[in-house]
Assembly symmetry: C2
Homo-oligomer: 248 residues x 2
Amino acid sequence: MNVLIVFAHNEPQSFNASMKTAAVEEFQSQGHEVRVSDLYAMQWKAVADQDDFGSRANADYLVYALEQRQGYEKKTLAADILGELEKLDWADLVIFNFPVYWFSVPAILKGWFDRVFISGKCYGGMRFYDRGGLRGKKTMLAITIGGQEHMLSEEGIHGELDAMLRPILRGTLGYTGMAVLPPFVAWHVPYVKPERRTELLEQYRQRLRHIDSLVPLQFPSMDDFDDQLRPRKCAVTRVCDSDSVRAD
Amino acid sequence: MNVLIVFAHNEPQSFNASMKTAAVEEFQSQGHEVRVSDLYAMQWKAVADQDDFGSRANADYLVYALEQRQGYEKKTLAADILGELEKLDWADLVIFNFPVYWFSVPAILKGWFDRVFISGKCYGGMRFYDRGGLRGKKTMLAITIGGQEHMLSEEGIHGELDAMLRPILRGTLGYTGMAVLPPFVAWHVPYVKPERRTELLEQYRQRLRHIDSLVPLQFPSMDDFDDQLRPRKCAVTRVCDSDSVRAD
C-alpha cells in the first residue's frame, strides 16, 4: 500500500510530529511505502489565487475552478500543486495529521484542500460522493484536540465531534469519493502528562495496525438523486436512512 | 454603528466584490462607519507560525495559543495581526464576505480566524459562547455558493447548510461570544444570468437595511455547564432545548 501523510503542525517537536513519525514507522514496518507532505517545512502556499496558474484560460477574470481544470489539462498548474497531485495519484491511503484549529483544519491545510483537490480531476459536474474522482482511495484524519471528549459528545457543550467535522469528513473528503475512515482523535493533548502522551501514541499505532478492518463512514449515493440532484423518492432511499443514522 | 467587512475573493470583479461594494454603500448611506479588510489585496498571511511573534515566551517550543496570549499582552504580535485586532475592537458588526470553498471559508480567511481570534482576548479558559471575549458584537456571513438551495436542505444531497457551516457559525463565531446573525446566501452564483445577480445584490441590500431586526442563532449557555464543562442536570436545561432545535 502507498501511504501519503499530509502533516500540518508548526512545531517540529509537537505531539502531532510524534504521531507523524510513529505512522511512518508503523507503515514501513508493515511493508508499505510512505511519503510525507510536511506543509510547514515545505512552506506550503495556502492561498488560492492567480499565481497558481502558469497560463490562464481567461487572463481578465479569475474563476479559480475553471483555471484549475485548464491548468491540469495543459500541465500549467503551479509546480507545488502538480507535485501534490502526483503524490495523491500514487497514494492508496491519505492520512491528514493536524491539530484542530477552530473545529477545523489549520489554514495551511485548508489551502492544501483548496489548491490540490482540483476541479475536473477530483470532482466536478456530477462526479462527487460515490462518483467522485478519488474513489478507490482511503483517507483518515489523525488529529489532536485541546478539549476533552465529553465536551464534543451528544450532550456536550459543543455537540458531537462528527457534526463539527462534517464539512471535512463529508463535504471535502467524502465529496471526492474517497472512503473516509473514522478519525483517530487524541484528546486534551496540550494538558496531559508525558505518560498519557505515550499511551495515546501507542493507541495511534494500534489503530494503524488494524486500519484495514476499519469501516468507512457512510455518505449519500448519487444513485439516490436525479440529474437535478433532487432526491429520487426520498422516503425509500438509502440516503434518507443514512442521514437519519448520522443525525445529531 | 462601526462595521468591519472582512472580504476574501481572489477576483476583484467577482460577484463577491459587488456584494462588498454594495454593503459599503448601504452602511454608509445609513450613517454607519465602514472599514474593509480586503484579504487578497492586503496579501494577508494565512499561515499561523512562529513569524507571528516578535518575541517568544518559549523560543524552543512553539505553543501557538500561549504565544498569542503573551504577544498580545506585550504588544509583540505581528503588525498585521495587531492591525486586524484594532479593527475588531472598533467594530460593532463584523461581516465575513466570501465564496464557500469546500463547505467552508477559503484558506486566506481561515488564516484570519487562526491568527486574529487570539487566545486570551477573544476566548480562553472558561470564556467562550455567552462568556466569550467578543460578546456585545454582532457578526454575519455574506456568502456565495455554487450549488443550488435544494442541494443544501434537509433532504438534499449535502444535508442542511447550517450543519455544514456549524464549525464556523457555532464553533468559531459563536464561540467568541459574538451574536451570530443568520447567513446571507447567494446561491448558484457562477451559473446565473446577470439579471439574477442584480436581484441577488438587491436582496443583499434589503437584508442589510433590516439587519437590526435579525434574530441571532442560538448556542449553548455556559450557565448550563459546570466547571468541568459537564451538563448541569441536562434534562431541564436550555442547552438541551436549543440542541434539539438545531438537530439535523
